[in-house]
Symmetry: C2
Subunit: 131 residues, 2 copies
DNA sequence: TTACAACTTCGAGTGCACTCGAAGTCAAGG
DNA sequence: CCTTGACTTCGAGTGCACTCGAAGTTGTAA
């Protein structure tokens, strides 16, 4: 089973993922993405596996992981199975940070809702102001 | 009732809020904070109300609001009650974004937990690898 | 009186994560 | 043959949100 057919141009990957072609080349340059296979004309050809990896990277970014930590993670990934413990450690750490971040956002959301409600009440029954 | 006693130096506010003195002056410079009252020696003296406002600003930042939007909000606040509708609109918009962000984080958290569990299982019962 | 710390303004510098522009190659279409 | 357009590399530029350093003033303590 060949899960790595090389069929997509950088343009197509940009459209599929929402990253710009600039960002795709940038990610490769800094080692977030392994050197992508090339067609005879030296153009990049992305496999489905490549897309999967890029989408995973985007999720890491969206959780707030820094580019630097993603570089470390990508490097570990390339080491193969022997790096599993470190990767699990990184993901576990990240998961905890995401959990904390969610809780913080929920707190702030409460305040926003409270303020919206209060300000709203001032609008319908006017003439006063405080916090 | 005077809720605006002027008693805190910039240093004390920095310690109380966790912002740096640089950032406090920066926020004032760009209009996020109104011009703080001064002691005779021209040193800033922050009131409890000022602290309250700064803490609110920090919460807006933590939800992801940009400095630019915070400038707009601060400006509206200074207009007084007549700006309430706009402020409610901004807060409502922000609340929706926070809601969406929380959901996104929860999705990514699910994936992280899944990966951690799967990689963990590889560690105890070794020799295989996939997604 | 002299040292020191904390404050002041101002403009410049930093780090991050892109984002872009220049200059060149190459293949297909008219 | 010539144009068009998608690709290539490389280094430089951008925008955001701080962050810092220099140079000066002031108030207290030894």
């Amino acid at each position: 089973m060949n899960t790595s057919a090389h069929n997509l141009t950088i343009q197509q990957v940009a459209e599929a993922t929402g990253l710009s072609v600039h960002t795709l080349r940038y990610y490769e340059r800094i080692g977030l993405i392994h050197p992508i296979d090339r067609a005879q004309n030296s153009h990049r050809r992305y496999s489905q596996d490549d897309i999967g990896w890029i989408e995973f990277l985007m999720k890491l970014r969206a959780t707030g992981m820094s580019i630097q930590d993603m570089q470390i993670y990508a490097h570990l990934q390339r080491q193969g199975d022997c790096s599993l413990p470190e990767r699990v450690a990184m993901l576990t750490q990240l998961e905890a940070e995401v959990e904390a971040h969610i809780r913080e956002l929920q707190e702030h959301q409460k305040l926003l809702r409270h303020k919206i409600k209060y300000y709203g009440s001032l609008l319908t029954a006017p003439e006063r102001e405080a916090s």
